[in-house]
């Protein structure tokens, strides 16, 4: 845990977020280096999805500081969101790719159109150029021959890979995944994880909220364990799994013992 801020691609300091029914995130501090693959784990409702949504500003943080690349968002406690803050949030969102649990492909467009849409609409890219980029991304996720199909005809794994291609087409600085494999049949999980591993090998920075403990352990550079809105532990995958420092982490990981995880308690 010795990340110096100047080398970090993502910096989060003192991030707080509440909803009507209570405080979800309490003082989150986290630095992530470029090219890292970071897994967020923790029990349901611990705030890990909300943290991800704060990073791409689908939820606006209540207070704290986020920097992604050169885009900085700073909000003092009680500060009203103004035009400038909204503009910054929008800018930050376009630096970040997001993949959802339920894919959320646009059902009225073909797979290719799904991938092309944002470059054309948001970046005002020439459609021919956008199609070229889209086809490259589809090829990368192995869906080249599905370009003309509608999302309704794809399997879950294919849908999630298409969603990844859609996010990649915007050339994001970082990819966020919100439980990307939770809705998939077990035999389809692998093809999605494979894509993420390939992206890691290319040097893409990725943050993944997941319950796939084996994958988290094998593929992550770091694992962040969040519980009750706080980061409990943050460490290398093997260390966290084999030798957790905190009781809460140990308690949570014991849950996965029966699933063949080697946890040394």
């Amino acid at each position: 845990m010795v990340n110096l801020p100047e080398e970090s691609l993502i910096v989060v300091e003192s991030l707080f977020k509440s909803f009507e029914d209570g405080e979800i995130l309490k003082n989150i501090n986290l630095n992530i280096k470029e090219g890292d693959l970071v897994s967020l784990i923790g029990p349901s409702g611990c705030g890990k999805s909300t943290f991800l949504r704060c990073l791409n500003c689908l939820e606006l943080l209540d207070s704290g500081y986020i920097r992604i690349g050169k885009v900085e968002l700073n909000r003092h406690p009680g500060q009203k969101p103004d035009e400038k803050m909204i503009a910054t949030a929008h800018e930050m969102r376009s630096e970040v790719g997001m993949v959802f649990q339920s894919y959320n492909l646009f059902p009225h467009k073909t797979v290719l159109q799904n991938v092309m849409l944002a470059p054309v609409v948001v970046k005002k890219m020439n459609p021919d150029k956008a199609r070229e980029i889209a086809m490259t991304q589809l090829e990368k996720v192995g869906l080249k021959e599905f370009a003309g199909k509608y999302p309704g005809t794809l399997s879950g794994g294919q849908s999630q890979r298409a969603a990844i291609a859609r996010a990649l087409a915007m050339n994001p600085m970082v990819m966020l995944y919100d439980e990307p494999t939770s809705a998939l049949d077990p035999q389809l999980v692998g093809e999605v994880l494979q894509v993420m591993k390939a992206l890691d090998a290319e040097g893409m920075t990725q943050i993944i909220v997941t319950h796939e403990m084996q994958f988290a352990r094998d593929a992550s550079d770091y694992i962040v364990f969040i519980d009750a809105g706080e980061i409990v532990e943050y460490d290398d995958g093997d260390i966290l799994f084999t030798n957790p420092k905190k009781d809460r982490t140990r308690e949570f990981l014991r849950h996965f013992n029966g699933m063949g995880m080697a946890v040394n308690c």
Partner: protein
């Protein structure tokens, strides 16, 4: 005239009262008529024979003794007559609105009417005529013999009022005069009581019916003018006196077989008939023989041009209204969903108000009410805007439910890709919402097509109005009714087809085009369970 509304104040009269309250500020016109050299006169071509009605020989031509009178008056004053059609109930509000210079169509001089308009001196006076079967076996020779008998008359008419005053009469009211006399002929009724001109033109040529008894009651007709135009009133009065004294009016009444001892007394003219009742004979000739099937079909074919023109009016007003409804509905829906709270609340208020009040009242208000605050719309635009505003409220609700039928996750996915709210709306939400809203919008359009028949109350001759005119002129509500129903169906058909087509196109995205909108899972294999 024939429909004398009883104490029940109809909607037009309420509007009339409203118009009168506001009309004080209306400027008095300096010229005798609105347009120099032209006498615009209002009447209702559906008003019926022998007052004014489409010529049975040529349904495009308006004839009737009142048409002849107006032509004579205009001729006398050196003006060009120009006919403006309006529903009979609205003839007087139409005067206040400045649709025409004068109104004539069996308008009676009653205290309520005199509060709203000025009346000329009477041009015609008549009475109620009792009719019985020629082989009358009930011993009815006077109105007083009707006690305990079956008597038919028009719904809500002066005659009905007279019969009610008699007491123990079994009154049967009808909408169509012809049906009354038919029932009298076949024995269902013992007597029929109608305004004399209607009686003459309904049964005067019927060999199995005879008129009996002294004249009952008194009905006086005069020309109505707006209160402020006294100059034209004196011109019209001058014309009537002159035409009376020169015998021109007498000639008209003779031609139409409408001269009576009561008229002799009114005009102080006891001379015998001088000219033939040619107009009446034509009518009697046209109605006496039963038409053969081919004769009927030929007549119906003759209706087609009139129905065609009316269908164009119906289509134009419906399509324009729908365009207004679709666009304004979109604005309203987007306002309700995205605008600041106070603006959204205003849009909600508009929607609830338009949905919660009858479109009939809205049309009356726009056409007759708004001119008082200086907003004067043509009949077409009043109809299109009125229907458009009303349906916009319904469309707004359809769009809104369509937008909320799309999952929130689609919205988030679009925003997460860096789209602005507007881009996400345009590219992701609206295209999906359209699929949800096409069936209910089509449904609404077909409903609007039928509601467009309401524009007939603001002087437009649409399909429904044309049906009323032709049916009233020929005593025939059957054949034209089927024709007009078929025309409405035909107009609606392309929109139904378009809706099916659009649904099918959009449904192709589901399951890769394996099923269209006709796919019905309730009829799939699960029906055995």
């Amino acid at each position: 005239m024939k429909k004398i509304k009883k104490i029940i104040l109809s909607v037009p009269l309420i509007i009339l009262a409203l118009v009168l309250c506001l009309a004080a500020a209306a400027p008095s016109s300096a010229a005798a008529t609105m347009r120099e050299g032209v006498l615009r006169w209002g009447g209702d071509s559906e008003g019926g024979f022998p007052y004014m009605f489409p010529n049975p020989a040529n349904s495009d031509e308006l004839i009737g003794f009142e048409v002849d009178i107006v032509n004579e008056i205009a001729d006398y004053l050196g003006l060009e007559p120009e006919y403006v059609n309006n529903a009979w109930d609205n003839l007087i509000p139409g005067l206040s609105r400045g649709l025409y210079d004068i109104a004539i169509n069996g308008l009676e001089v009653t205290p309520e009417h005199e509060e709203a308009v000025n009346f000329s001196i009477p041009y015609y006076k008549t009475f109620l005529q009792l009719a019985v079967r020629r082989d009358d076996d009930k011993g009815i020779s006077e109105i007083d013999d009707c006690h305990g008998k079956e008597v038919g008359t028009l719904k809500e008419s002066y005659a009905e009022m007279i019969l009610e005053e008699l007491g123990d009469v079994n009154i049967h009211t009808y909408i169509v005069e012809a049906n009354t006399y038919e029932d009298l002929q076949n024995g269902r009724l013992d007597a029929a009581l109608f305004d004399s001109p209607i009686a003459i033109y309904s049964a005067g040529f019927n060999p199995s019916i005879k008129f009996v008894g002294r004249p009952v009651g008194e009905i006086t007709y005069a020309i109505a003018l707006p209160k402020e135009n006294r100059e034209l009133l004196s011109d019209i009065n001058r014309a009537i006196v002159s035409l009376r004294d020169s015998g021109k009016l007498r000639e008209i009444y003779d031609r139409w077989n409408l001269w009576s001892p009561m008229m002799a007394e009114l005009f102080n003219d006891y001379s015998p008939r001088a000219i033939e009742m040619t107009r009446y004979d034509e009518w009697a000739e046209a109605h006496r023989p039963q038409l053969s099937m081919t004769g009927r079909l030929k007549r119906y074919a003759g209706f087609l041009p009139a129905f065609g023109r009316a269908a164009v009016v119906t289509i134009l007003v419906s399509v324009t209204a729908m365009a207004i409804a679709i666009l304004l509905g979109l604005v309203l829906a987007i306002t309700r969903v995205f605008a600041p709270r106070w603006l959204a609340a205003a849009a909600t208020g508009f929607v609830e108000f338009m949905r919660g009040t009858p479109v009939l009242i809205q049309l009356f208000f726009i056409f007759y009410g708004l001119p008082n605050i200086g907003i004067m719309l043509s009949p077409f635009w009043a109809g299109a805007v009125g229907l458009g505003l009303n349906y916009a409220a319904y469309e707004a609700e359809i769009y809104r439910s369509g937008l909320f039928a799309i999952p929130r996750t689609q919205w988030e996915a679009a925003l997460a890709l860096g789209m602005t709210r507007w881009q996400a709306m345009r590219e992701v939400m609206l295209p999906q919402a359209i699929k949800v809203v096409i069936p209910p919008i089509t449904n609404d359009f077909i409903s609007l097509l039928k509601d467009s028949s309401l524009v007939s109350i603001i002087t437009m001759t649409d399909l429904t109005k044309a049906y009323g005119q032709l049916a009233a002129a020929y005593y025939d509500y059957f054949g034209p009714g089927i024709m007009v129903a078929l025309i409405y169906l035909l107009i609606g058909l392309p929109f139904v087809k378009f809706s099916r087509f659009a649904e099918n196109r959009l449904a192709e995205q589901d399951a890769g085009g394996k099923r269209g909108s006709d796919y019905n899972f309730y009829r799939s294999s699960t029906r055995w369970l």
